[in-house]
Amino acid sequence: MKWALLLVVAGLALVASVLIGPAGLQSAIVWNLRAPRALLAFLVGGSLGAAGASLQALVRNPLADPFLLGLSGGAGLGAVLAIALHLPGPWALPIAAFIGALAALVLVYRLGRIGGGVLDPRILLLGGVAVGAFAAAITTAIVSLADAAELRNAFLWLWGGLSSASWDAVLLIAAYTPIPLLVLLGASRPLDLLALGEEPARYLGADVERVKRRVYLAASLLTAAAVAVSGVIGFVGLIVPHLARGTWGHRHRALLPASFIGGGALLAIADTLARTVVAPRELPVGVVTALIGVPVFALLLRRWTVA
């Protein structure tokens, strides 16, 4: 029943985001711009939701979100470098952002294993924050030293948005995301056990080290692709997993798909609002996800703590 409801909501969100827009229903615009944008919003939102759910389980911290581990800082640095160096080609910016995110991923991963071969979630978190702050500092230095007008716009890109959506981007992401998603889904049983703590999980037969490595890499690769095509869209990866946990409980076999579909629906709705509420102008979509997500989250937080 609750699955049917979620699927209906997601379907309606997708249909609405294709049908509703400031330009009315012109076939060329609907087909070339709005349909790929709606699908990209769904895939990106879903990736962030699933990545957030698995990272929260991995570091056993309810505050974890896909960008906490330094990926946004790395992607931002890559994007700003691409703009400052005037790298040519239509795909220069997303590729540079992806490489930046991967560089941050590798760096944080190395830091996380600093105490020998074991991946320590606490060091992973601290390393992520440190690498993110360092990348952000370099980014700000570049922005303040280089051509100001152009780079101010780079900051807008960092705030997230889906205006670069095209069928190329949709196909790319649709081909890329299933692999890390399947890896995460495959790790759902050990992720359930990890909630009990690493020692108990080990006694119950989970290969804890392998699971932590796999989950960290898969969730980060999902996030890196999302940030490369759409910038840093906040709150989806933090809030959706908590909402899903409230309904589907802590079993990751159900929680991960629910977070994926819920995240996709939320971002599709948020992007439709971003395009339409102040038309002909447009809001950064991250603003809308925060404006919808945070009040809903606060309400549920209150209900959970009271109950």
Partner: protein, 270 residues
């Protein structure tokens, strides 16, 4: 002791402006906006400009003047090192703070509005007054006023100024660029947006279907986004209908705005 001395110096410096007559002929001027630099040179005060921003590239003689940085925000020490008796700033939040700091060390400042073509005349007259070149300033100001006084030609084409591609940012009615287009006989399809610039969705640009996409650029090739698939949903992008406007001439209102209108008109007539 040293601190007391410093305090006395600051006190004396702080008193100075009020001791002097309110209008004195300025001989060492730092200009912190390319438009002001152009106006100062045009009214014959170019030899008194002792500091400029890195963006001030016109007239060519301005390049011989020492640069005090990019001016956003102004580097107070670099400005003070030029020992100016007048600093001309564009009237904006960070510049108001900078002007206060300069006044505090005894340097006279003036903050001038320059957002629309109507602002050119008053700004020029004010600069004429401050340099004692009222007559030449008046004739330049009168020519600038005539730009906005005359009736607009009926629009024969439409355009959209695209400032940035991801997210798409366009120029609205609040910018002098919208006025330049109107004077050249083209309607800005985003003239219902009162702000100088705004983020819009790509589908709005496609739906409003302007004849031309105008970009400020010194490269003579179409912008990078012309090759992006999603931008090709805009018919003018697909047809390669770009107006590539040189940044030095179109990027600021100033004495050459009439020339900018002429060039835009010629490009539209192609």
């Amino acid at each position: 002791m040293l601190r007391r001395l410093l305090f006395a110096v600051i006190l004396i410096a702080g008193c100075r402006p009020s001791d002097r007559p309110t209008v004195t002929r300025s001989d060492r001027i730092v200009s912190l906006l390319p438009s002001f630099t152009e106006i100062l040179f045009a009214i014959g005060a170019g030899d008194r400009v002792v500091g400029r921003t890195t963006w001030c590239d016109y007239p060519p003689a301005a390049l011989d003047v020492a640069s005090v940085g990019d001016g956003i925000p102004p580097n107070i020490e670099a400005v003070a090192a030029r020992k100016p008796d007048l600093v001309v700033l564009y009237n904006s939040g960070p510049n108001v703070t900078a002007a206060q700091q300069l006044e505090r060390i005894g340097i006279r400042t003036v903050l001038l509005d320059l957002n629309r073509l109507e602002d050119l005349g008053p700004a020029t007259r004010k600069l004429g007054q401050l340099t004692g070149l009222e007559q030449r300033a008046e004739s330049l100001a009168a020519a600038m006023d005539s730009l906005t006084d005359r009736p607009l030609p009926p629009p024969t084409a439409t355009l959209a100024y695209v400032v940035w591609d991801n997210p798409p940012i366009i120029i609205g009615a609040g910018s002098y660029l919208s006025q330049l287009a109107a004077l050249a006989g083209a309607r800005n399809v985003f003239d219902d947006i009162t702000a100088p610039s705004a983020q819009v969705s790509l589908e709005t640009i496609a739906a409003r279907n302007p004849h031309w996409i105008a970009v400020l650029s010194d490269a003579e090739v179409p912008p990078g986004f012309a090759k992006r698939r999603e931008w090709r949903a805009v018919p003018a992008v697909r047809a390669g209908q770009f107006l590539i406007l040189p940044g030095s001439l179109f990027g600021r209102p100033g004495p050459r705005s009439a020339e900018a209108v002429r060039q835009l008109k010629a490009l539209l007539a192609r």
